[in-house]
């Protein structure tokens, strides 16, 4: 069904690395920014290793910051996915692929795999770099968090599938993706706990995939068990399934 997927994915990775700003802009630069911020803020974080489990700003720095970074990278993935697909559409590349047995889902999936790989590489570098500025006694379940990260990012990117499938031009793609997705961060529970939101926003939060991603990522980072977060996983997988099905229905080649 997904014939050509691995070949296309590998190809897109190579093509990405050939872009003048490709690897630098999306891997090196974020890590550099992170290092600079860490150095500036480092003095304030270092002396309070024991307050990780505490409240307020330190709690945010403990689990909030890595999760925020993950979400931002995923959302950035969505906008770049939407942009690249619309560039392919405008340039007639999709049109040419349409005349082959390749299916739209294969093209979308290949680009998602490229983005996932980039996200993982970027985050791994950040975590390595962050070790210098974060207290050394943090015990993050790296494998578990990576898995949570993959599930969350995949699910968030699948929302990008739908936008990418219908957005008419590349110029339109970036602002549309941003306008739809970034407001979701506000109600995701990342800054304000969901139970302290007004009832209307609580409902909005429950309908927003980002909420489940934040809950899962934060929980796993803090070392909570997967069984406590199975509903998050179900919600994220459901989002992925629905969005994939929807996008292969509405996919526009031209």
């Amino acid at each position: 069904m997904l014939r050509g997927l691995w070949k296309l994915t590998w190809l897109e990775i190579k093509i990405f690395l050939r872009e003048p700003m490709g690897a630098f802009g999306s891997i090196v630069l974020p890590v550099l920014v992170f290092l600079v911020v860490g150095r500036v803020a480092g003095g304030r974080i270092m002396p309070t290793p024991s307050s990780i489990a505490g409240r307020g700003v330190f709690a945010f720095l403990g689990a909030g910051l890595p999760v925020l970074v993950t979400i931002l990278i995923a959302l950035n993935g969505v906008t770049s996915l939407v942009t690249i697909i619309s560039i392919y559409r405008e340039g007639g590349i999709l049109k040419r692929l349409r005349a082959t047995p390749m299916r739209p889902l294969t093209i979308l999936t290949a680009h998602v795999l490229v983005k996932l790989l980039l996200s993982v590489v970027t985050l791994a570098l950040m975590m390595l770099a962050g070790k210098r500025y974060y207290p050394v006694d943090i015990h993050v379940p790296v494998l578990g968090f990576t898995l949570a990260l993959l599930i969350s990012t995949w699910s968030i990117l699948s929302m990008g599938f739908v936008i990418a499938s219908i957005v008419p031009t590349a110029r339109f793609a970036q602002p549309l993706g941003t306008a739809i997705l970034y407001p979701m961060i506000g109600v995701s529970g990342l800054f304000v706990p969901i139970h302290s939101l007004p009832p209307v926003l609580q409902t909005v939060a429950r309908l927003t995939p980002l909420t489940y991603a934040v809950s899962l990522l934060q929980g796993i980072w803090k070392g909570e068990s997967w069984s406590a977060h199975w509903s998050d996983v179900v919600a994220l997988v459901a989002v992925f399934v629905i969005c994939s099905a929807l996008s292969s229905k509405v996919f526009r080649w031209e």
């Binding site: 070949k7 190809l11 897109e12 093509i15 590349i93 005349a99």
Partner: protein, 288 residues
């Protein structure tokens, strides 16, 4: 809006069939319906007995498609594109040999964005041929190419026919259709006006023959007036332009010249071509 209406034709195995007409006539729309890329509101299409809307996947492995104005990723290499395309089909021919046949062997590591217009078109032909199709679709293959590149592509298309493949192409260039196509369908405003070989169409629609000759003989005008099926004669200095109709008209002119022993210093016939056919049956030039 209806772009194509009343279009009907058959393409025979092993021929180069051309759909010709001005830009916007419905050539690409028609071709995309046949390729299974577009679903017509009504009508029937059958390729190898396959209905392209019912079973596009059965069709795809037996056809090759070159699209008008398609692009690839800017930084994809030539061999990578062929490799990807090859992986999409159940069976594929040797990509390297294909590049050699199309004169792209030394470009196999070049990025798509660095290729010239002619090289891009040759790559698209290579991609269309990767699954060894029985039927090849070529849509405005040489548009935007310089005359030299155009001629090189024509030779390639003839080679493809020589290998037993059927070619279905569109063009708005009458010269291209005349030189390449075994049969053509003239399409305008979404309707097929006529189908036949270029020679047949010329015979059918433009029976006029024109002979231009030069002579110093003072008696020439008088004798030429007597040629059967003559329509009119114009003369400027010693040059006559003689208009007539029918297959035998040119022979009749020659006969008249030899019978009356008229000495000619120049003699040529002006044959109508597809361009004239188009003008005749649509009332306007294809370039308008």
């Amino acid at each position: 809006m209806v772009a194509v209406d009343e279009v009907s034709f058959d393409v025979a195995e092993g021929e180069i069939f051309g759909l010709i007409g001005p830009n916007g006539a419905g050539k690409t729309t028609t071709m995309e319906c046949v390729e299974g890329l577009r679903t017509p509101d009504r009508g029937a299409i059958s390729i190898f007995g396959i209905d392209p809307f019912r079973d596009v996947s059965a069709l795809q492995s037996r056809i090759g498609i070159q699209l008008q104005q398609a692009q690839l990723q800017k930084r994809i290499k030539v061999w990578e594109a062929l490799d990807l395309w090859a992986s999409l089909y159940p069976s594929a021919v040797d990509g390297h040999r294909l590049l050699e046949q199309l004169g792209l062997a030394d470009k196999r590591n070049a990025w798509f964005m660095t290729l010239s217009g002619g090289q891009k078109q040759r790559l698209f032909i290579a991609l269309a041929l990767i699954n060894d199709p029985e039927l090849l679709f070529l849509d405005e293959l040489t548009t935007g190419l310089d005359p030299q590149a155009r001629r090189a592509i024509w030779d390639l298309v003839r080679d493809i026919r020589a290998r037993g493949k059927t070619v279905f192409m569109t063009t708005h260039l009458m010269e291209e259709a005349e030189r390449l196509c075994d049969r053509v369908a003239i399409i305008e405003h979404g309707r097929v006006i006529d189908v036949g070989s270029p020679q047949e169409l010329v015979r059918r629609h433009c029976p006029e023959r024109t002979v231009v000759l030069a002579t110093d003989d003072q008696r020439a005008g008088e004798h030429l007036e007597a040629i059967p099926h003559l329509e009119r004669i114009t003369s400027v200095d010693s040059q006559f332009t003689i208009y007539g109709r029918g297959e035998g008209f040119v022979t009749a002119v020659i006969h008249c010249l030899s019978e009356n022993q008229i000495h000619v210093t120049d003699f040529r016939t002006v044959l109508p071509n597809l361009e004239d056919v188009f003008l005749k049956i649509t009332g306007h030039s294809i370039r308008d």
